[in-house]
Structures are given as C-alpha cells and as structure tokens.
C-alpha cells in the first residue's frame, strides 16, 4: 500500500510541469492552434506544388497528342501561360476573385496582395490559388494547338488570368479568403464546387471550345466531303507520362482544396483516385465497343475525365458515388470526343473541350445527385441539382461568351491563326525558328 502511494507521488511530481501548463488552458490552446495553422500551411503549400506540377502534365499530354513539327510551340504555350498568368493573377486577378465586394460583381481590393503581412497565411493561399488559375488557363492551349499565332495566345493567357477566371471564381469561391463580405452570388445560392470542376475546368474547357470554333480546323483535318480525318499524335509515351503526372498532381488539386491538414485529405484522395480509375476503365470499354480496339489516347482521356468530374463533389460523396461519377465521366468523354469531331466538326486535337468542359459540367451536376446530404439520390430533393445547373450554365455563358468575343477581337486585330504555309511547315520553325527534335529524322508528310 505504502509503495503504491510513493509511486503515485513520484508520477505526480514528474507530471507537475505539464499539469501546471494544463492549468493555463489559453497557453495549450495557443500551442495547438499554432501547430494546426502550420500544418495547414505546409499541407496547402504541398498541394500548391503538386498542382504546379500539373503544368508539366498538360505540356506532355498536349505535346504527345500533336505533331512533332509543333512541339516547341506547345511547350512554349504551356510555359508562358503559367508565367504570364502568375503575374496577372498576382497583380489584378486575386483581388477581383477574393477581395471584398462593393456590389455583386467582383472583389475590389487586395491588388498586389496589399495589406498582407509577409509571413501570414495570405501568401500560402495566394500560391495555391495562383496554380489553380494557371490550370484553367493552360487547358485552352491543347484545343487551339498546331495553328494559333503565338502572340495571340499570349494575349489570351493574360486576359483569362486577369479577368475571365477570377471574376467567375469570385461568384463561387469569393468568401474563401475574406469571409461573408467577399461572398459571391453563386455560393449564396448554395452552389457547391469543392475543388473546381466548374470554376477551373469548365471555364477552361468552354474557352477552349470558343477558341477552337473561331480558329477553325487544322489543314487536312476534314476532307473536301467534310469527312473527319485523323491527325496522329507523335508521341503517345509522352502523352501517357503527362496523364500520370496530372493524376499525381490531382492529389494536390482535390485533397489540397481542404486548405487544412486533417483527416479529410485521405478521404478525398480515395474518392479522387476511384473516380480516375473508373473513368479510365469505362472509357477503355466504350472505345473498345465503338472502334473495336482499346484506344490508348481515349483511355488516357478517360482517366482525366474521371478526375475532372470528381473535382467538384470529391469531399461530399461516398466512395461508391465517386466510382459512379468517374464511370459516367469516362463514357461521356469518349462519346463527346467523337461527337465534337464527327458531328460538330470542331477540331480539338487533345480532347480538352470534352475532358474539361463536358466532364467538368457533369462533375458539377453530379454533386447535386450524389452529394450524401443534399443530393437527389440521398434526400430526394432537386434543389441542389437545380443550383448546380445554374452554376454550370452560368460558367458556360460566361466563359464561352467572353471567349467568342475575345478570340474574335484577336482575329480582327493581331490575327489568331498562322498562315497556311507556316501551318504546313510547322509552328516550331515559323513561330520560334527552331525544331524540337534536331538530330532526329522526323518522317511526316502531313
């Protein structure tokens, strides 16, 4: 008995300093809070760096799906839309998107991050949002590949990161930084887009559609009878590497959008991965049925379709729901690529409109169906689905409408398309005066 008491006294005396701390709850809470804040910053930065790497993914996918004579051009477009977009978003875009609003339209302060302290959360948030803006911008380069004037593309990159992306973003995500006084009207309606199926992907996809329409198809894409002809991508291994990089980057895109280091990261990584896997499988099967072979380029698009679709609902659906959403995305992308190519006769060399526009819209709507609290399949109400449709429809009108105006304006001023002669020789020589594969024998007559 005595021994037991002695032991207890020893324990208590050892714990004394800790217990003293516990007597002051404010100190412990401060430590906990500071720790959580730092974990949030570290995780959000890791997310941002992963999403930055998606630029490399886009560059590789687009290079692989197009011809060798235009590889330098597409790499330059992917490099420069990030560079131009980063500056434009820092100076103006971020303020329009996250600044406090005086009306409903857009933010009106925070330009050049004015008012932010050096070592605050603000800059972590800025870098995360910058790489998102750049993702929306770079989607367009693939759809406009192999025929767009480089200088026009630079101007387009500037405009999307400066106003088109941020203003729509402020309607859906405005309150993420400054709270209610910066909230947008779409989030006011209850519009859900966790990581950007609409805000990032549909906006990019519908701008890509506008660009591809105003540009017209590449020379040789459609015969005199209007029949679609294939223009083969020159490097499927590089395209596949790009898709793997994008899939990897998506683990920053979706789980990173928690902006917090907590258990939901792992859950969102699972829903994201399941949707991507289901998308790849279903796209492969649908392509196999339609064209008779498991087309690699379609299957690669299918993985991306699943990823784009799950981006909006990734935090709010069950794993089975994620599989369903990815599967439908995978089927949609194959049908959409064929429909846009053969029926609409719009030349989108990499399938950007189908992957990002169509599947982004599907993902946004799916959040109104599969959301485990407000979705139609769980609570029986159409309300969420209706709000999602309003958001997705607004994104289409905004991005496609402004896209048409922007590209028409570029066409009328600096010109949107290179000369036919330059297009045939390749934009690498025409726009950049160099070749991608000097020393290799490239044998191509198209």
């Amino acid at each position: 008995m005595k021994k037991k008491y002695l032991f207890l006294i020893l324990i208590v005396s050892l714990l004394a300093p800790v217990i003293c701390f516990a007597d002051e709850p404010s100190t412990l809470d401060t430590v906990k809070q500071e720790l959580q804040t730092n974990i949030n910053i570290v995780w959000t930065c890791i997310g941002a760096f992963l999403v930055f790497f998606m630029q490399a993914g886009f560059a590789m996918v687009e290079t692989g799906f197009t011809r060798a004579k235009n590889a330098v051009n597409i790499l330059m477009k992917n490099l420069m839309d990030f560079a131009v977009g980063s500056l434009a978003f820092f100076v103006i875009g971020f303020g329009l998107m996250f600044g406090t609003k005086t009306g409903w339209f857009c933010g009106t302060n925070l330009f050049c991050m004015s008012g932010s302290e050096t070592n605050s959360w603000d800059f972590t948030f800025l870098i995360f949002q910058t790489v998102f803006a750049a993702t929306a911008a770079t989607i367009v380069s693939g759809a406009m590949a192999e025929r767009t004037k480089f200088v026009s593309y630079l101007i387009y990159s500037f405009v999307i990161s400066l106003v088109i992306y941020p203003i729509f973003g402020s309607w859906a995500w405005g309150s993420l930084f400054k709270g209610p006084e910066a909230a947008g009207w779409l989030e006011g309606l209850g519009f859900l887009d966790f990581a950007g199926s609409t805000v990032v992907h549909s906006i990019g996809g519908w701008l890509a559609l506008a660009g591809a329409i105003i540009l017209g198809p590449r020379i040789g894409k459609y015969g005199a009878d209007g029949k679609s002809k294939p223009i083969l991508g020159h490097n499927l291994p590089i395209a596949a590497l790009g898709v793997f990089i994008l899939w990897f980057g998506w683990f920053g895109f979706n789980p990173g959008s928690t902006l917090a280091g907590n258990a939901s990261i792992g859950y969102i990584a699972v829903t994201t991965n399941l949707a991507a896997a289901a998308g790849a499988i279903v796209a492969m099967i649908v392509a196999w049925i339609i064209v008779g072979k498991p087309d690699a380029s379609m299957t690669l698009n299918g993985a991306l379709a699943g990823l784009v679709a799950i981006t909006a609902p990734c935090n709010a659906v069950s794993p089975m729901g994620a599989i369903a959403i990815g599967s439908i995305g995978g089927a949609l992308v194959v049908l959409s690529v064929i429909f846009i190519d053969k029926v609409l006769k719009i030349d989108d060399p990499v399938g950007a409109v189908s992957v990002h526009g169509v599947c982004g819209t599907w993902g946004t709507l799916s959040c109104g169906l599969f959301n485990t609290t407000t979705g139609l399949f769980y609570c029986g109400s159409f309300k969420q689905l209706g709000v999602q449709a309003i958001g997705a429809g607004t994104a289409f009108l905004w991005a496609f409408g402004l896209g048409i105006l922007l590209f028409l304006a570029l066409k009328a001023t600096v010109g949107l398309r290179v000369t036919a002669d330059e297009e045939l020789k390749g934009l690498d020589l025409g726009e950049h005066g160099m070749e991608a594969y000097s020393g290799f024998q490239i044998f191509s007559t198209t």
């Binding site: 294939p230 379609m298 690529v337 190519d341 053969k342 399938g351 044998f443």
Partner: protein, 113 residues
C-alpha cells in the same frame, strides 16, 4: 556488275541477312522506306476516327555484286523474305557501270568484292 535493289517486309530483314550471310554476301545498304503496291494498306483507328494507311513501312536493300553473284544473292533474298503473302516485296536488278572503293581507289570487280 549489277545493282540489286529489293523492297522487303521490315520484319523479314533479319531472315534475309541470315540467308545472305550463309551465301557469303556480306555487303549491303539498308534504308527505311514507305511504299504501296498490291497489299493496299490496312485499317487503323485513332481517337475514334478510322482511316486507311496506304503507304506501308518497307525496308530497302541495296547490294552491288559481280555478275556471277546475282543469282545467289537474289535466291538468298527470296529465301529470307518470302512468306507467300501479298506484300512480300519486289527485287529490281540494274546494270552498274562503275564501282570505286574510296579508301584504295580500286575499281570494278575488285572494289565490289
């Protein structure tokens, strides 16, 4: 002297080289080429669009020989390249007016062998 030019299926090149080596023909030039003939290409599909590939990948062999070696060489090429299917290729034989070895300046039959 003759110049033998043969267009063969790319995947028969190894067999043709083996046959030629068996008959002591060790000198040749090989280039990749595209061409079409009775085989009429094949069907491919890319991103859901089907198309005909008309120009097929072939391998072009050039072998310069003395007149006495023509039959041996031709027979060796046929032995290696023939599958009996359309697309096995063709052999052309041309007169060769001169042959000079750059290193030694030898001419004619001496230079070829």
């Amino acid at each position: 002297m003759k110049l033998i030019i043969a267009y063969i299926q790319p995947h028969r090149l190894e067999a043709v080289k083996t046959e030629l080596a068996k008959h002591d023909v060790a000198k040749m030039s090989v280039t990749n080429s595209l061409g079409c003939g009775a085989q009429k290409g094949y069907h491919e599909s890319y991103r859901g669009v089907e198309f005909d590939v008309n120009l097929l990948k072939k391998v072009r062999l050039e072998i310069a020989v003395n007149d006495t070696f023509v039959d041996t060489t031709v027979n060796a090429i046929i032995a290696g390249a023939r599958t009996g299917e359309i697309g096995d290729g063709k052999i052309f034989i041309l007169d060769l007016s001169e042959c000079i070895r750059i290193r030694t300046g030898e001419k004619g039959g001496d230079a070829i062998g």
